[in-house]
C-alpha cells in the first residue's frame, strides 16, 4: 500500500526578537490509509507546530523553511495559497479542541458547516449541501436539530462532535485532531475518541492524534511518535512503545505514567524542556538524560531504524546499527 501522508524533513523556524527558534527541526514520517498515529510530547515540543505546518497555517514570524508534506500524492508545500485553501478540509482536515471556543458564537451550526462545503464546492445545491451536513452530524451521533442550533446551546462533548462532523464533511485523506478531548470529562473523552475512531474507519482516513494523555492515546492509536525540541525522538507501534520504549526520553515518559504497580509513586522527568532559542549542542535531550555519553554533548544522533520499522534518534542505538 502506498502511504497517504508522507512528511519529509519538515522544518519550521520562528524569527523572534531574541533570535531564531527552530520549532520543527527536520521531521519525517509517513502514514498508510486508515493508520492512526499518536503524537506526544511536553508543551513546546513542537506537536502543535507540526499540525499547523501540515495545514500550512504557520504565521509570521514563523515560516516553513524546508521539507515537504505529501498528501495523497500532492505536495502541499508546493501549492499556491489559493490551491491550499481548497486542500484544507478536502485533503487534510484539522479538528480543534472544540469544547472550548472553536465554534462561532453568532452563527448557527448549520451555517458553519454550509460555508465550509460552499468554500470547496460553490455549485452544490442548497438541498445537497444541507443533506451532506445532516449526514455528517448523524455520523457523529448528533441529532439533526443541531443543524439549527448555536454553539452556546450545546454541551462540551456535543461541540467537540460538531467539530469532528465539520472535519469529516469532505471526507479528507488525513485528519489531524489536536487534543480533541482536553477540557472534557472522562466519560465524554472516551465517547469522543470512539466517535473519531468510527468515522475515520468509515472514510478510511489516516489520523494524527495530538495529545499528552498517553493513557487515552494507547487505546486508540496504532503508532506513537514522541517529540522533543521539534524532533521525533522515537516512533514505534503503540505496543512496543509501552512495553519496551527505546529512547531514554520515551522511557522516562512511559515511566512517569501512573500504573497499578507504582501506584502513588509519581515519577517525573528531571529537569525542564530547554528553550528552543538556546538548544543544547549535540543531542538536545542530553542534559536531562540519565544514560548520557560524552559524544551525546557534541554530536547529534541520526535516526536509527530498528527491528519492526521503529525509528529512534539516539546514540545508544546508532552504535549498534
Amino acid at each position: 500500500m502506498t502511504p497517504v501522508l508522507e512528511i519529509k524533513n519538515l522544518q519550521v523556524t520562528y524569527y523572534t526578537d531574541a533570535g531564531r527558534a527552530r520549532a520543527l527541526d527536520g521531521v519525517s514520517l509517513s502514514l498508510l490509509p486508515g493508520e492512526k498515529l499518536g503524537l506526544v510530547g511536553e508543551s513546546g515540543s513542537g506537536k502543535s507546530t507540526m499540525a499547523l505546518a501540515m495545514m500550512r497555517m504557520i504565521k509570521p514570524p514563523g515560516r516553513i523553511e524546508g521539507g515537504s508534506v505529501i498528501v495523497d500524492g500532492t505536495d502541499l508545500t508546493q501549492l499556491t495559497d489559493e490551491q491550499m485553501l481548497k486542500a484544507r478540509l478536502s485533503k487534510i482536515a484539522y479538528i480543534p479542541q472544540g469544547a472550548m471556543n472553536s465554534l462561532n458564537p453568532v452563527l448557527r451550526i448549520g451555517a458553519q458547516m454550509t460555508d465550509a462545503i460552499r468554500a470547496h464546492d460553490p455549485k452544490a445545491s442548497k438541498a445537497q449541501v444541507e443533506e451532506r451536513c445532516l449526514a455528517s452530524l448523524e455520523s457523529v451521533d448528533l441529532k439533526r436539530d443541531v443543524f439549527k442550533m448555536y454553539a452556546h446551546e450545546l454541551s462540551g462533548g456535543m461541540k467537540q462532535r460538531v467539530c469532528i462532523a465539520i472535519g469529516i464533511l469532505l471526507q479528507p485523506k488525513v485528519i489531524i485532531a489536536d487534543e480533541p478531548t482536553s477540557a472534557l470529562d472522562v466519560v465524554t473523552q472516551r465517547q469522543v475518541m470512539e466517535t473519531i475512531d468510527r468515522v475515520q474507519k468509515q472514510i478510511g482516513a489516516a489520523v494524527i492524534l495530538i495529545g499528552h494523555d498517553m493513557g487515552l492515546m494507547a487505546q486508540f492509536v496504532d503508532k506513537v511518535a514522541v517529540m522533543y525540541t521539534g524532533r521525533i525522538m522515537e516512533l514505534s507501534t503503540v505496543r512496543e512503545m509501552f512495553t519496551d520504549p527505546k529512547h531514554p526520553y520515551a522511557q522516562a515518559l512511559i515511566k512517569s505514567l501512573p500504573n497499578l504497580e507504582n501506584k502513588g509513586v509519581f515519577q517525573g522527568i528531571p529537569g525542564l524542556a530547554p528553550a528552543l532559542l538556546r538548544l543544547p549542542g549535540g543531542c538536545s535531550f542530553h542534559p536531562r538524560c540519565i544514560q548520557v555519553m560524552d559524544h551525546c554533548k557534541t554530536q547529534r544522533p541520526r535516526d536509527s531504524t530498528l527491528a519492526g520499522g521503529r525509528t529512534v534518534e539516539c546514540h545508544l542505538y546508532s552504535e549498534k546499527a
Binding site: M57, L89, P96, L103, N104, P105, V106, L107, A119, Y150
Partner: protein
C-alpha cells in the same frame, strides 16, 4: 428575551428619567436663585423697568409659575407635569411653550446627529476592523492611522479648524447658519433643500471627523482580540476564503461590543451636537439651549436638558433591546 427582562429594562428607564427630573428640579433650587427675579434683574440692567414695580411683578410671576409654594409641593407638581409632557413656557419667547420650542428644533438636530452618527459608526468600525486585519493590504490598513490620531480632537475644535480652512480660507462652505440669509424656507423647492444641505456639510464633517477616531481605535482593539479566538482559527482551517472569515467570523463578533459602545456613546453624541449647533449657529435643540443659557431662560434650559436626557436614556434602552437580535447568546436569557 422574556417579558421579565423587558419589564426590568423599562423600570430602569423610568428610574433614570425620574432621577434626571429630580436632578434638574433640585439643583437650581439649591443655588436659591429665583429664575423670575434673575430674568427681571437682567432686563432691568439693560434698562426699561422701574425697580419699584419690579417686586410686585416678580411676586405675581412667582404665583403664576407656582414658585411661591413649598418646595415639596412644587416638586410633586413638577413631576406630575413632566408625566403630562408639560415642560412649562419660555420666559424669553412667551407664550411659546418649551415643548413647542423642542418640537420645532428637534428635526434639525435629529437629522444631523442620526446621519453623522450612523456614518461615523459604520466607517469607523470598518476602518478599525481593517486596521487590525493582518491580511488586508498595507495601504488600506494605514488609512486608519490619521483617524486614530484625530481621536483626541473634539468635534467643537474640529469645527473651528474646518471653519477656518474650508469656509474662511477656501470659501468652499458657508461660515454658519441653517440656510443663506434672505432665503425664504420652502421645503418643496430643490434649490432651498440643496442650500440647507450645503450649510449642513461642514457641521456634519466636524461631527464625523471628531467622532470617527474613537470607533477606529476601539474596533482595532476589539479586532485584535477576536483574531486570537479559536473560531477564527478554525475557520481558516476549514479553508474558508479571507472575505468570508472577515465578514462572518471576525467582523460580526467584533461588532457586538461596539453596539453596546454605541449605546454608551449617545450622551457624547448629543453633547457634541449641542456644541456644534452653537458654533455654526444652526437651528436645533442645542441652539435653543445655548440661546436659553445666554438669556437666562431657565425653564427652557431645564426642559431641553430633561428632554435630551430622556431621549438618550430611551434610545439606550432601545439599543439594548436590539442587541439580542445580533447576539444569539443573550437571546434566550
Amino acid at each position: 428575551m422574556t417579558i421579565q427582562v423587558i419589564v426590568r429594562r423599562l423600570l430602569f428607564l423610568i428610574t433614570v428619567v425620574w432621577s434626571a427630573s429630580t436632578i434638574t428640579f433640585f439643583i437650581p433650587r439649591i443655588s436659591a436663585k429665583n429664575p423670575v427675579r434673575e430674568r427681571f434683574a437682567a432686563l432691568s440692567r439693560s434698562g426699561g423697568f422701574a425697580p419699584a414695580d419690579m417686586e410686585k411683578i416678580i411676586a405675581a410671576y412667582n404665583t403664576k409659575f407656582g414658585l411661591d409654594k413649598p418646595v415639596l409641593e412644587q416638586y410633586v407638581d413638577y413631576i406630575a407635569s413632566i408625566a403630562r409632557f408639560d415642560l412649562g413656557v419660555s420666559f424669553n419667547l412667551y407664550p411659546k411653550t418649551v415643548i413647542e420650542l423642542i418640537t420645532e428644533s428637534l428635526p434639525w438636530t435629529f437629522t444631523l446627529l442620526l446621519v453623522t452618527t450612523i456614518l461615523s459608526f459604520i466607517l469607523g468600525n470598518l476602518l478599525g476592523a481593517v486596521a487590525a486585519w493582518p491580511r488586508a493590504p498595507q495601504w488600506l490598513r494605514a488609512i486608519a492611522t490619521p483617524f486614530i490620531l484625530l481621536q483626541g480632537v473634539p468635534p467643537a475644535i474640529m469645527a473651528i479648524l474646518l471653519l477656518f480652512f474650508i469656509a474662511f480660507r477656501l470659501k468652499l462652505a458657508p461660515l454658519g447658519s441653517a440656510y443663506s440669509t434672505g432665503v425664504i424656507p420652502d421645503w418643496s423647492s430643490p434649490a432651498f433643500i440643496w442650500d440647507v444641505v450645503h450649510h449642513q456639510l461642514l457641521p456634519a464633517l466636524a461631527l464625523l471627523l471628531g467622532s470617527i477616531g474613537g470607533w477606529v481605535l476601539s474596533m482595532r482593539g476589539m479586532g485584535i482580540t477576536i483574531q486570537g479566538e479559536d473560531y477564527v482559527n478554525f475557520a481558516e482551517h476549514k479553508g474558508l476564503s479571507g472575505p468570508v472569515i472577515f465578514k462572518d467570523y471576525y467582523l460580526r463578533n467584533a461588532l457586538l461590543p461596539q453596539v453596546t459602545g454605541l449605546a454608551l456613546a449617545l450622551g457624547t453624541v448629543v453633547t457634541n451636537g449641542v456644541i456644534i449647533e452653537n458654533i455654526f449657529g444652526l437651528p436645533g435643540l442645542g441652539r435653543v439651549l445655548g440661546a436659553a443659557i445666554g438669556s437666562n431662560d431657565f425653564l427652557v434650559i431645564y426642559g431641553v436638558v430633561l428632554f435630551i436626557t430622556i431621549a438618550v436614556a430611551t434610545l439606550m434602552v432601545f439599543v439594548e433591546f436590539l442587541y439580542p437580535l445580533l447576539d444569539p447568546r443573550v437571546r434566550n436569557e
